[in-house]
Every structure is written in C-alpha cells, then in structure tokens.
Symmetry: C2
Subunit: 357 residues, 2 copies
C-alpha cells in the first residue's frame, strides 16, 4: 500500500448527485474527507461531504483551487468537460484516468475500443446528416436506435427507428448533434457487471445483475441474474479485459445483452453504476466503497454476495410509496435528499433483500 492515501486524506468528487452522495458516505466509512465540485446548490452529495465547491465547470480558478485542496480526483458522471480536466490534472491524480473517460464519452470511440478488444457490440454507423442516416439505415436496417454520440443518459438523446419512418423528420429531432445508429439486437435480457480495478492491477467483480428498463430508465436490477455458469464467467472476463485494457482504477459498469450468439456489450460507464446499487445490501463491501478503495490506492474489498437482492429505482411520484416501503420488513430504503420529485427524476432506490439462493 505504498501509494495508498492515508486515512484522513481528502477525496475530490466531480458531480454532486446521488452517486457522489453515496461515494461520500463510503469515503467517510474509511476515514476520508470528501470535497464535492458541483455547480448546483443543495445537491445530494453536499449533504454528506466535508466541502462543497459550488462553482461552474468553466471557472478556472475554482477548478485549480479544488484540485489543490484534494489528494485524488474522481467523478460521478462521464461528461466532465475536457477543459476542466486539463486544469484539474495538474493538481491531483484523476482516477479513473482520462483515457477511460474519453473512451466512454463518445459512443463511437467506445464501440471501436470494445471491438478492438475482440468484444461484440451491436452493428453501428456514425451519422452526422439526414443523408448519412438514410445510408446507415439502409446498411444496418430497422428497427434500430439513433443516439447522440455524446452526453446521452437515461434514454435522453435517443430515437427509435422503425421500418418506414420518415428519416428526415427523425434527423430533425436530433438538433444536428453527431449521432450513431445502432442496430437492434435480438436479446433475451440485459445484464451488467460492476467491476473494479485497484491501483496495483488487482481486479474484482460483483455478481452480474439483470436489468429491466422502463421508459429508457433503469427500473430494476435483480441479483443473481439469469445466466448460465459459462455466461457468468464470460461476463466477468469481459469486464476484466476492459478494465485492464484501460489501465483502469475504480469501479466500471458494463452493460451486456444476452443473446443466442453470446454476450454483446451495450455500453460501459466509467463510474459507479445504478445497476450496482444492490451491493449496498447484498455485499459487505459495496460498489461505492470499492470505488473509493481503488481510487485511494487501497486494496479492493471482498465483494462476494451474501443475499439475493432486487434493486428498484424510485422515480418521481414513486416517492408517494415511501411510507408504505418504510414499513416493509424486506426493504432497505436509500433516498437521495432531492427536494422536487419531478417526473423521470431518480429520487432514491430500494433494495429488496432475501436469503442467498
């Protein structure tokens, strides 16, 4: 542990949402202080962190000051501006590294990286005009999905394309953003692997979870996932290959489609991941502590599962269910401290726990 941060060191977190909040709690468990950089006030992470830089990502002085006041910098979202990273990296190490971030910031770069590792991805084509969209649909077919190359999350910046759709109209919705057309994959279900890699290269993965989405937003993750032993091994090996190839330090989420032709990578996220929230009640060391351990240069924890768990997101009006859920003996509540329960907004999640199968 020669490169390990000492207890009492300060971990800088870019982004003050629920992931930053739960990272901050995990950091406190290990005796670290946290400093959150987030333009918004009263943000979820600020409630449980030592310091909050309420500054914008184009405030050069604030970014430099933040970097100098922390011992390591990590992030809870993949869309940290490059210009901000340029300023930050002179002050403290950024983990996971910028290559991992850049790879996942652009869907084309990401898919090319994954193909380069010999992993399967959906057929795809870059699309930057209505003409390219037509050519791409002619090549890849429909149904297919048009996504912005950058900045998309939770189903935002996406359009589904069916046979016969007016492609000029579809393209007009995308506001000229560079896009990628992804072929539709015939998959039986989606799973994800939450993997972690330490500073010394040690790799550990949590049990894969099975994901169900609603309206483009993750609805539930069920662990254990419905996978054969061979598929399970395959999923974990794929995550390990990605982690090693990126010289990654921290937790990474890998979404996989389960198909008759094997596992196909949907996307990767260079951060703790919504589909890993089950680990808070299914494992002794959860994904948030695993991430903090990794970026602090500590050994990874044992992430073995001690319980079966169904994670369910609480979105918007689901908050009306909190009173009933709080009385359910099998439910662990995790709320994010957000003031307004707007439609589509992730307000919290529950983990429904049962004995390990």
């Amino acid at each position: 542990m020669s490169d390990a941060l000492p207890v009492g060191a300060t971990i800088g977190i870019l982004g003050g949402g629920q992931l930053g909040r739960m990272l901050s709690v995990a950091a406190s468990r290990l005796g670290f202080k946290t400093c959150v950089y987030e333009p918004g006030g009263d943000c979820p992470a600020s409630h449980v962190s030592n310091y909050h830089f309420q500054k914008s990502y184009d405030d050069a002085e604030a970014l430099k000051s933040f970097a100098q006041s922390v011992d390591v910098i990590t992030y809870e979202f993949e869309n940290v501006p490059t210009s901000a990273l340029d300023l930050l990296e002179s002050g403290a190490p950024i983990r996971p590294n910028r290559w991992a971030l850049a790879t996942s910031q652009n869907r084309i770069t990401e898919k090319e990286f994954l193909e380069g590792l010999g992993l399967k991805v959906a057929p795809f084509a870059a699309v930057t005009s209505a003409a390219e969209l037509k050519a791409a649909v002619a090549k890849i077919g429909a149904p297919s999905i048009l996504k912005t190359q950058t900045l998309g999350y939770d189903g935002k910046g996406q359009a589904r394309i069916k046979d016969g759709d007016d492609l000029d109209a579809v393209w007009a919705q995308m506001n000229d953003a560079p896009c990628v057309l992804e072929g539709f994959i015939e998959f039986s279900h989606e799973v994800s692997v939450i993997g972690a890699r330490a500073l010394d290269g040690q790799v550990a993965c949590f049990d894969p979870g099975e994901n169900v989405h609603r309206d483009g937003i993750l609805h539930t993750t069920t662990v254990p996932a419905n996978l054969s032993g061979a598929q399970r091994t395959d999923a974990v090996l794929m995550a390990g290959r990605i982690l090693n190839a990126l010289d990654y330090v921290g937790v990474l989420g890998v979404e996989l489609f389960v198909t008759p032709a094997g596992l196909i990578v949907n996307e990767i996220a260079p951060r703790v991941h919504n589909s890993g929230h089950w680990t808070q009640n299914g494992c002794v060391i959860d994904q948030f502590e695993q991430h903090i351990r990794a970026v602090a240069g500590w050994p990874l924890g044992d992430g073995s599962r001690h319980a079966d768990t169904v994670m369910e997101n609480l979105i918007g009006a689901d908050m009306d269910r909190v009173a009933a859920l709080s009385a359910d003996p099998d439910v662990a509540l995790h709320l994010y401290g957000k003031a307004d329960a707007k439609p589509g907004r992730k307000m919290g999640h529950i983990n429904r726990v049962s004995p390990k199968s």
Copy 2:
C-alpha cells in the same frame, strides 16, 4: 405515519462524535438532513452532516436557534446539560425524552428505576464522603467498585476496591464527586441488548451481543452471544420492559451480566451503543437507522441478523493495523475521521463477518 417526519426534514443531533457521524449517515439514507450541535471543530459528525453549530452548551442563543432550525432533536451522549435541554425543548421535540435521559444520567436514579421494574441490579449504596464509603464497604463488601454517580464513561471516574484498601485514599481520588458503591457481581460474561421503540410503541430488539472489555473500554462484541434460548428471551423482555416504562422513542443499549442467578442489569444507555455497531454489517437495518426511524416517527425496520459478526474497536495505536485490516476479505472497516490517534481514544471499529450460524 401521521406523526412521521417527511423526507427532507432536518434531524438535530446533540454531540458530534462517532455516534453522531453514523447517525448522520443513516439519516441521509432516509432522505433527512442533519444538523449537528458540537462545541468542537472538525468533529466526526460534521464531516457527513448538512450543518454544524460549533457552539457551547451554555450559549442560549445558539441553542434556541439550533432548536428552531430542526424538526426533532436527538443526542449521541447522555450527559447533555439540563440547562441546555430546558432551552431546546421549546423549539422541537427531544427524543428519547428527557425522563429517559435523566434516569440514565445518574447511576442511583437508574438503579432505583430498574429495581422498581422488578429487574435485578448489583447491590449498591450512595457514597458522598469517606465515612459513607466505609459504611458502604462494610455493608456491600469487597471487591466492589466505586463510581461517580454522573458523567462516567469508558471506565473513567471509577475505582476498584479490594479487601484492605485504604478507603480514605480511595475517596480522596474521587474529588468529592457524589458516588455509588457497586457490589462485585460473579458473572460469567456480559451481554447487551440493543432495543428500539417507535413513536407508536412498537418495540424491536437486535440479537444480544457478548461484550469483552479491556482497560475499561469495550474491546469486542460477538454475535450471536453465548446465551440459552431462555436467557435470550429474558434479555429481550427486560429491554422491552425498560423501553416501555420510559415511554422511550429511539434506540437504547442495555448491558447485562450473565450469572447463575439470572441476568443482572449493569447499566442502560439512552442512545445508540458501541455494542450495537455490529448491526452495520450483520443486519439490513442497523442500529443507527433504527434510531433515526424511531425519532422521526417512522416504523422500525426489520433488525434480524443475516450474519455472525465480531465487532472490534480500534483504539489509539490500533490505527497502525488499518493497512493490514483493509486487505482482510472478512473485515468491514468503519473509521471515524479523528485526526489524532491518542491512547484510549476510539478511532474506529471493524466488523468481522461470517455466515450466519
């Protein structure tokens, strides 16, 4: 849940040590904000709370302002000054109530209360002079223990008395503080029950833990404790009787001596308790969340145990073991963010987890 605090409400915590820290984390999980009142700066609880009133307990304006800025007031230590409570109670409800606090603030009051419930305690006598000490030793015998009636914790303010000791010299050590002489109990081991009672009277107890002390400070708590089924039932019923008699709201720790003549109450603590830290890794809902649920008027959680756990305190130089402990796959670390690892100071604890027996 008509009296339940809504998500987003603010919980005031008197005391900013490790118990306040872990209460604050539990409150955040349920979407509450926390406001800590603690004269010391850089205190463990302030690292993970929304607000920190760094004010003294005789600052009337600060106390009133604190009480008005929170929705309920709870505490992490039993020695909150009465004068402070007088000022606080006009602003927000204090839970657990002042009667519970007053009962446990004085060892004589506490023992008389317990005897009044029909529970067994060690033979005791009030001692306020050397002459009374001699009379008390003549009546109760030696070995016995002289303790201050108030403000003692972790073995502080205590003197062991052996046959033939110079009682004038022993008394001189106590600085004229009102004391109680407690007869020595022949016990095989000590256990504790962490009980909780909700605003509506619902009672729940965690599995009893078995405690081992070193130098007057809790060293380990092992769960399950070595108890017969009948003893276990007895212990839980005793905790329930105490909780109900005090019209208690929150978590209470009850320390019990296991003797051939049955269970004898050592002491009670009107707060989350060091011997309940194992619940963080042995239960889905831990003692800290259970306490927050109770004081917020929420239903209690299910505190059933899913793992065997040995909690061990990290005291002073035990912090040198953190690097090794962080690499132990069976260990969950919980550090308190204290800067100086002074001898005798509680710096953190570990929970060593194994499958449920």
